[in-house]
Every structure is written in structure tokens, then in C-alpha cells.
């Protein structure tokens, strides 16, 4: 016997009216508009909870920690009412053989019908034994589960790109999920970030459950709904960039006025993520608002692109209409005078508008 999300909410004493309100809020948080609310309601009234195996490789658990900070929906409701989180070694009651038995049982009962959520990545050096699960390389557990799953979610920058343990010289040869040799060909959705924003993680899950499909992905495999714009494009400090007003040093006058952090190293202009729109921890803030430059943590190889405090020297003079497919993660690698040009164009515009007095 399985129960639907709607039934679960009803029996908690939530009225149908509140349930429908929840559905329209969910639609709004996904940027879908009110017409989608009935579709969400229908999905939640009719679907049993989908089994999820959440495996951990080499990682730091920041993705799980981010996930439990989700404000809407609450992590509690995702776990109790939306998915069936059958295996997640960070929170599961069972250990050892009783834990491993769950992987097999899920495969047996739901072959081809469960989601494989990957946090972290497998090391290929040391025969895979720098990450051991049940006496064997994690790589084996991953490949085994992948060959039976319906689809894979690569949580965070570890699973998506490799992240910190894959930074030069990558001593364990930590490898992102989509590049694991011999991994079964399954649809993979990347949700990068170190960690990803909590509400982005839960929105991706909610979207999949609601529409019974992956959200539209960009060429790099990221959901377009959250990763199609750069931090810079929607940054509340963007007007200061355009006006040539920069923080020159931490805690200077510009820092106190919330000027642009470009000159102290902000990677916002080359980073695709939703931090400046969705923001963090229930929409409370994001790194730039708190005064630190974006370090580009959702970008492939962001650890190996120079100091976080070095100024980007390669921003193209792109408009906000340029998308991830056109620029890709390569923007930061293509060296040019474009950043200066971008800043200069803004400065020229400013000078023009002020009659050349600056």
C-alpha cells in the first residue's frame, strides 16, 4: 500500500484549500505561473512515493546539509511525503549488512524505476579503495545501482564536475559521475554548486515528481530553469558595475556601500547559478550580498582557475541574453581583454551620460 502526497497532507489536517495554495506556491517557486498549479495538484494526488537511493562517494556531505535547510518544501516533507528515501547512509537507521540489503531489495522491487541520487564521486586510483563501502570500492556500488536505476541526479559539484578532491593534482583520480568508465547509460541531471542551493535541490525533485520528467537541461546537463543565467546578470550590485563603482579593498567605503565586487575577484560574471535570483536559505541572502565575491562554485573546475581574489580578466562584453549553451563553462578559460572592455563600455556609457565629466 502506498499513499500519495495529497493523502499525506490531508491526514495531517491540511485542508484541500491549503493544499491547493501549496500547489500554486510550488508552481510560483518553479517560475511556472498559476496555470500549472492544477497539474501539480493532480500529480501529488495520484502518485506514490518514488524510491530514491542516495549514495555517497568522496564528498563532504555539504549537499545533504544544504538539502535539509530547504525552506519550501521542508526537507521533512520531501522525505516523509514525496520520495521514499530508502538508502542514504547519512541518515538511515540501518547499518552494515542491513543497510546494504536495502540496495538489493530496491533493485529487486523497483528495477528500472528508482532514482539514483549521487553525492560525491568515486576515486579510480588506489583500485578505488580510497572510498570503501562494505569492504569494496564505492565504484562497484555506484555502477551496480546505476545499471538498475531509472535516472541519475548528480548532486553538487563533486558528482557534476569532480570538485575539490578532483582539483589539481587529483591524487585519488576522483571522477564525476558522467565520466565514470563503464557506467550504465542513464539520463543524468547535474545540479552543481558547492553545495547547490537547498531550494534548487528540492525544486528539482518536486519538478520531476510533478511532471514525471526531467526539467529541460542545457548542453552541460544542468536544468535550464536554474542555471541559464550568470550571477552577474541578475546581481543587485550590477548597477554599480555599470556605473564603475567598485570595492577596491575589503571593508573600504565601497564595501560598506555595497559596490560591485568585481575588482576583488568576483566570479559572478562567469558563473551560471541562481544565487542572485533564488538566493540562499529561504531567499535570505547570497555571497555577494554578504560582501564576499562569488567564487564560482557551480562551475566546472572552479578550484583551478587562479585565486578567488584575482580579478577576472576575460569577461566578454556579453549581454544578459547570452546563455549557457553559447558561453558554456569555457568563458573563464578564454583569456581576453573582454572584462576590461565590458567595464570600459560601462564607463564610457557613464561618461557619456554625464557629459564626459568623469
Amino acid at each position: 500500500m502506498t499513499e500519495t502526497f495529497y493523502e499525506v497532507m490531508r491526514r495531517q489536517g491540511i485542508t484541500r484549500r491549503s493544499f491547493l495554495k501549496y500547489c500554486s506556491l510550488t508552481a510560483a517557486s518553479l517560475g511556472l505561473g498559476p496555470s500549472f498549479a492544477p497539474q501539480i495538484a493532480h500529480a501529488m494526488e495520484t502518485k506514490p512515493r518514488i524510491p530514491v537511493l542516495w549514495l555517497h562517494g568522496l564528498e563532504c556531505t555539504c549537499c545533504s546539509e544544504s538539502f535539509i535547510r530547504s525552506a519550501h518544501p521542508l526537507a521533512k516533507d520531501v522525505i516523509l511525503s514525496m520520495i521514499s528515501l530508502d538508502y542514504d547512509d547519512t541518515i538511515m537507521a540501518a547499518a552494515g549488512q542491513q543497510a546494504e540489503a536495502i540496495v538489493e531489495e530496491t533493485i529487486r522491487k523497483y528495477d528500472g524505476n528508482f532514482i539514483l541520487a549521487c553525492e560525491g564521486n568515486p576515486p579510480l586510483n588506489q583500485e578505488g579503495m580510497s572510498c570503501i563501502i562494505a569492504g569494496k570500492p564505492y565504484l562497484e556500488q555506484l555502477k551496480h545501482a546505476a545499471s538498475h536505476c531509472k535516472a541519475i541526479i548528480s548532486w553538487g559539484s563533486c558528482a557534476s564536475w569532480g570538485c575539490v578532491q578532483a582539483a589539481r593534482p587529483n591524487p585519488t583520480r576522483a571522477t564525476p559521475i558522467h565520466l565514470v568508465p563503464g557506467l550504465a547509460q542513464k539520463p543524468i541531471i547535474k545540479v552543481p554548486g558547492c553545495p547547490p542551493i537547498a531550494e534548487v535541490m528540492t525544486a528539482v525533485i518536486t519538478y520531476i515528481l510533478t511532471f514525471d520528467k526531467f526539467p529541460e537541461l542545457d548542453r552541460q546537463g544542468r536544468p535550464k530553469m536554474f542555471y541559464s543565467q550568470r550571477i552577474h546578470d541578475k546581481c543587485y550590485r550590477r548597477p554599480h558595475f555599470d556605473a564603475g563603482q567598485f570595492v577596491e579593498a575589503f571593508d573600504d567605503e565601497g564595501a560598506r556601500k555595497g559596490y560591485c565586487l568585481y575588482k576583488v575577484g568576483c566570479k559572478g560574471p562567469t558563473t551560471y547559478n541562481a544565487c542572485s535570483t533564488v538566493r540562499w536559505n529561504g531567499g535570505l541572502s547570497f555571497p555577494i550580498q554578504a560582501g564576499h565575491p562569488c567564487i564560482g562554485c557551480s562551475e566546472d573546475g572552479f578550484w583551478d582557475k587562479g585565486s578567488f581574489y584575482d580579478r577576472l580578466t576575460d569577461i566578454h562584453g556579453f549581454g544578459i541574453e547570452a546563455n549557457a549553451d553559447e558561453i558554456g563553462g569555457k568563458a573563464a578559460l578564454v583569456v581576453g581583454a573582454a572584462a576590461a572592455a565590458h567595464a570600459a563600455v560601462s564607463a564610457v556609457k557613464r561618461a557619456r551620460s554625464k557629459g564626459g565629466n568623469e
Binding site: 543497510a99 536495502i102 581574489y309
Partner: protein
């Protein structure tokens, strides 16, 4: 192996049945544990193994020291930030940078948020299921649960019979659905669970409430650090500039609205910790106070570095609000001073770790450490190199090194801090401990146990919420006095740095004493070494045969059913193991990793 006595006083006997737990779950990272139980189901030998290694310090070589905090913060996302804080302190120590008072207050508020959050989440979401049986909660009478709630936590508003009935119904449907999620394959028929159904229902309800509330605790870090998990830090201070009433204050990192937000979070944290967490510890503890296994090293050898500097830039013990010092040989009358720069004090050994030293009889101080990974299994291992059935603990058996303080295996963590503080007569700690012991009606010796470790963590969370208030007031008073500065950037430009320097930074992470040692050469990291809490607690044996804190704590514990590791999990979880943290090392020359040969 014949039965042997370790130099630190434990009798090891591996003749009984071997029980393997891999993976140990509800921890950060990956860990394996093997024990031998005798004919009466008592544990007589324990083997703990770190089963992951990422090599972050290798990756740090040649990087900009100002970036190091971001790399090492990714050592662990559970104790997020404590490595970053330790790192900026190490760099500031090396470069002799003083930070402003406001930066010290903000860092302390952030670090205390972590203590509070980590302790709370650990208790309810990683540890509670070792004591609490959610299936048994279905049998509870909601009215009786309500009475229990009002008796144990009278100041918590969610206490009506209807409230508990709703939660019970939700739980019931969840269990009846057959999709048990995280509760699947738990040990719910094991007689080790002792709570009556009402206490189980109350605790499961608080499991859910705590899951909702925990996210709020960390929002102080979203305000000051821009995001959480993994907020942002800065060498020289904090990145969040203050602008209370000047031009454009609304877009500044810190203004009146932001401070008000933080104040509200701090107040609600006080309420939750004092009205839910502490009463639950007493309520649950009262049913388990006869189960006093798991003391291990806690009554013998404990270590704390101290943390939470009252005034900025003074890291001497008298200015640290969390206690520092070492106790050895169970002599609580003497707390010894700890010097992280002294090569004779902290040393790491590798005879039982998957690393090689030229002379494995000797330990090495972190500034002079060597790392050469050497994944090699002992001759008595059962299985193969990639399919281990049973480890051979007489040889190398863990990715964790064995750190020692003046040759002693030490326990670190909340209990270690509380034992050191209690021994020093720290008034706040003494009051809390005495009050708790008296509420449970147990003697001081009861502190040296699994339950004592779990209780100390809760008391520390309570201590921490009040210290957050203290530092918030201090921050506001300092701003009021006209000081808005948050960063010292005089030496931010690497061109101002000496050619070669070294430094050490330390904190008390939620799991215990943490230190980073750094060498900087020509503005780049030449060597970076972390010795972290779980390296201390999870340490394998050393050259003398001393066992570490995890292994010691499991010794002589009675298990109800050997095939169900409830008691093993209970005691291991009481340390809040963090395996991603524990396995990091890099040599003094930062030499490239050797290729690992598997034999």
C-alpha cells in the same frame, strides 16, 4: 592473537566471534568497524577503520594561502566553517595579522551557530535512533505523551494531545505504506531499546521539529557569510562590511535589518535548545542511566585546545571561553598546558595506517610530517584487496593516522572539553554538569560513558546559545562605540609578505580539538597539515599498541544481538564521527603522491 593488555590499559582478546559493520551509517563520511564478542556477547576487541581518503592537503600545495579556507572548508560540510576558521587563523598566525574586534565577535557567533546546529542535528538525526524506536511510538497514548511533554519540557508550547495524535497518525500512515524510507531495516525489535512508547513518540515528534528548526540556526551564517552550507570567510577579518546609517546601508552586508534578523534567530535558538533539546536529554537519559558503557578514554586521557576568544587576537587559555588543556592517566587533579608548536607534543604515527614513513617507530610533528600513501593489507586479512571480509589489525588497517599527545592516545570532543573544564573548575561548566548529574541521580563517574558524551554535547549547545547572545551584544556595543571595522587588509596583498613563514591555527570543532599547520614560501602554500577531531578519536593503534578512543569506548560493552549493531552504533555515534575530516595529510615538502601499490 593471544589476549593482550595495551599500554593504555585495555585487555584485547580476538578469540570470539567477529562482527563486521560496514558501512557505519549516520555519520559523516565512510567508516568500518569490526569487533570480537565473547560467548556472553561482550565486546573484547575493537577495530575501527577510516574507509575514505581525499588528499586535500596535496591539492593545497602551491595555492594562494588566502584561498586555503575555501578548500579546507570542503573537508567537511557537516562541521562546515570550522576548518575555514581554523585556516584563516593559521594564515593570520603565520603573517602576524590582527583582526578587528567586530570580526572576532562575528566569527564567534558563526562558530557558535555551528556548535549549536551540529550538536542538535547530531542528537536528533544521527544519534536518536540508537535510543529511540519510532515503530514503538505507534503504541503511545497521545494523552500520556502530552503529560510527559508537560512534565519534562513544560516551556515548550507544542504539547497538546491532539498535536501528538497528528504526528502519530502521520507516522502510522508512513509505516503502513510499507515505504519506511530512512527507518527501513532498523533494529526495532531489539531489546536494547528501553523507552516507553510515550517517550518514543515525544522524541520522534522532536526529531521532526528539530529537522524543521535546524535550518534556522544556520541563517546567522547566511547573513554574515552569504550562504550556508559553506559560508564565506576572509583572511584579516570577515567579508561582511557594516553600514548602520550611512548612504546605501540597505544594500550593505550588515545593517540594522540584518542585525535584527540575527538577534531573532539567536533568541529562538535559546528557546529550542533549552525547552526541547535539554529536557529530551534528561528524559531519555533517565531511562538509560543504567546503560553506562562506552567510557573508553574519557576518564583517562582527554584533550582540548580551547576556542571562542573573548577579545580579538588573544589565543591564550585565559582569553578562551571554551576550556583548553590535557588530562592524562585519569588524573583529574592536574590539567596540563598544550602547545601546538612544541614538536614533542602532537605527533602522528602510521604503523597501522595506510601510509609509509621511513621509520615507522617514530611519530612526526605536523610541521614536519611525511605522507606516502601505502594501501597494504596484513597477511591475516580475509578476502582480497578490493573485497575485504575481515581486516588484520596487527598490520595497516585504516586511512586515518594515529595522532598522540606526548605519546598518549586522547579523546577529544564535547565530553573531553567538559571533563577538562570541570577539572579546572570552570564555573559555567561545573554548574551545568552538577545540575544534570543531580537531575538524573547519578554520580560523577557516570559522565565517563556513551551517555555522558551525549549529555555533554547537549550542555555545550546550551552554553553556546548564551555565548551567542553575549557576542551579539558585544558586537552591537562596539558598533555603538564607533567602531564599524570588520577587516584588516594591510597585509592582504601577498607582496607585503615575508619570504618564508609558518603558522598554526586552532578551533574547537563540534567534534573536538582541531588544528591546521601551514608553511608559506614565496606567497604560496608550501605545506598544509590538518589534525582533526576524528583523527584523534578514530585513530588506529600506534607503534606501542595503544588503542584509540573509538576502539577503547567499545571495549567490554554487552551487545544484545551480535548480528544487530545497535550498541556499537550507539557508542560510535556518541563521538559524532566525521570521516571526511579525519583523513588528510601532506608532507613537509609537499611531495607528489607516490603511486599506491596494492599487494
Amino acid at each position: 592473537m593471544p589476549a593482550i593488555k595495551t599500554p593504555n590499559g585495555f585487555n584485547l582478546d580476538d578469540s570470539g566471534k567477529r562482527v563486521v559493520v560496514d558501512p557505519v551509517t549516520r555519520i559523516e563520511g565512510h567508516m568500518r568497524c569490526e569487533v570480537n564478542v565473547d560467548a556472553n556477547n561482550f565486546i573484547r576487541n575493537a577495530v575501527s577503520t577510516g574507509t575514505m581518503w581525499r588528499g586535500l592537503e596535496v591539492i593545497l600545495k602551491g595555492r594562494d594561502p588566502r584561498d586555503a579556507w575555501a578548500f579546507v572548508q570542503r573537508i567537511c560540510g557537516v562541521c562546515t566553517g570550522t576548518h575555514a576558521l581554523t585556516s584563516v587563523r593559521a594564515v593570520e598566525d603565520a603573517l602576524k595579522i590582527n583582526i578587528p574586534e567586530n570580526a572576532n565577535s562575528i566569527r564567534n557567533i558563526m562558530q557558535l551557530s555551528l556548535q549549536i546546529h551540529d550538536h542538535l542535528v547530531h542528537f536528533y538525526h544521527l544519534h536518536a535512533l540508537d535510543w529511540v524506536n519510532p515503530v514503538n511510538a505507534l503504541k503511545a497514548d497521545p494523552k500520556a505523551t502530552s503529560i510527559l511533554q508537560m512534565k519534562t519540557g513544560p516551556n515548550h508550547p507544542k504539547s497538546s494531545p491532539g498535536y501528538f495524535r497528528d504526528v502519530q497518525n502521520r507516522l502510522k500512515k508512513f509505516v503502513e505504506s510499507g515505504q519506511l524510507g530512512p527507518f527501513k531495516n532498523g533494529y526495532w525489535t531489539n531489546p536494547a531499546y528501553l523507552l516507553p512508547p510515550e517517550a518514543d513518540l515525544m522524541a520522534v515528534t522532536h526529531y521532526l521539529e528539530a529537522l524543521d528548526f535546524q535550518k534556522e540556526i544556520m541563517t546567522t551564517r547566511t547573513i554574515f557569510g552569504g550562504k550556508d552550507t559553506h559560508p564565506n570567510w576572509l583572511v584579516g577579518g570577515v567579508p561582511c562590511a557594516i553600514n548602520m546609517d550611512g548612504d546605501l546601508a540597505a544594500g550593505a552586508p550588515i545593517n540594522m535589518e540584518r542585525l535584527n534578523y540575527v538577534a531573532g534567530v539567536i533568541d529562538r535558538s535559546v528557546d529550542f535548545i533549552e525547552n526541547v533539546y535539554i529536557p529530551d536529554i534528561i528524559a531519555i537519559g533517565s531511562f538509560y542511566k543504567g546503560w553506562l558503557y562506552g567510557g573508553g578514554l574519557s576518564g583517562k586521557s582527554v584533550l582540548a585546545y580551547g576556542d571562542i576568544p573573548d577579545r580579538a587576537n588573544d589565543y591564550s587559555p585565559k582569553n578562551l571561553m571554551m576550556p583548553s588543556g590535557a588530562i592524562i592517566n585519569g588524573n583529574l587533579k592536574e590539567v596540563l598546558p598544550v602547545d601546538l608548536r612544541d614538536p614533542a607534543q602532537v605527533q602522528e604515527f602510521v604503523p597501522h595506517s595506510w601510509y609509509a614513513y621511513p621509520d615507522e617507530k617514530k611519530g612526526l610533528h605536523p610541521w614536519d610530517g611525511i605522507t606516502e600513501p601505502n594501501y597494504k593489507l596484513g597477511a591475516k586479512t580475509k578476502g582480497t584487496s578490493t573485497n575485504i571480509q575481515q581486516l588484520d589489525e596487527s598490520a595497516k588497517y585504516s586511512w586515518i593516522k594515529a595522532p598522540r599527545w606526548r605519546g598518549h592516545a586522547m579523546e577529544v570532543g564535547p565530553l573531553a572539553r567538559y571533563v577538562v573544564g570541570y577539572a579546572q573548575g570552570h564555573p559555567e561548566i561545573k554548574e551545568q554538569v552538577d545540575k544534570t548529574l543531580s537531575a538524573l541521580g547519578v554520580p560523577l563517574e557516570a559522565l565517563f560513558s556513551t551517555l555522558g558524551r551525549t549529555a555533554a554535547r547537549a550542555l555545550e549547545a546550551q552554553w553556546a546559545v548564551h555565548k551567542q547572545k553575549y557576542f551579539f551584544k558585544k558586537l552591537v556595543a562596539n558598533i555603538k562605540a564607533g567602531d564599524s571595522s570588520t577587516a584588516n587588509t594591510e597585509k592582504f596583498d601577498p607582496k607585503t609578505w615575508p619570504k618564508e613563514v609558518k603558522g598554526v591555527g586552532f578551533t574547537e570543532a563540534p567534534r573536538g580539538a582541531l588544528a591546521h599547520w601551514i608553511r608559506i614560501k614565496e606567497t604560496k602554500i608550501d605545506n598544509y597539515q590538518c589534525v582533526v577531531p576524528t583523527t584523534w578519536n578514530g585513530s588506529p593503534r600506534d607503534n606501542e599498541g595503544n588503542i584509540g578512543a573509538f576502539e577503547a569506548s567499545l571495549m567490554n560493552t554487552k551487545v544484545e544481538r551480535a548480528e544487530e549493531p545497535v550498541e556499537i552504533l550507539r557508542t560510535l555515534h556518541s563521538f559524532d564521527p566525521c570521516l571526511a575530516c579525519s583523513t588528510h595529510v601532506m608532507g613537509p615538502d609537499g611531495e607528489e603522491m607516490a603511486v599506491v601499490k596494492v599487494r
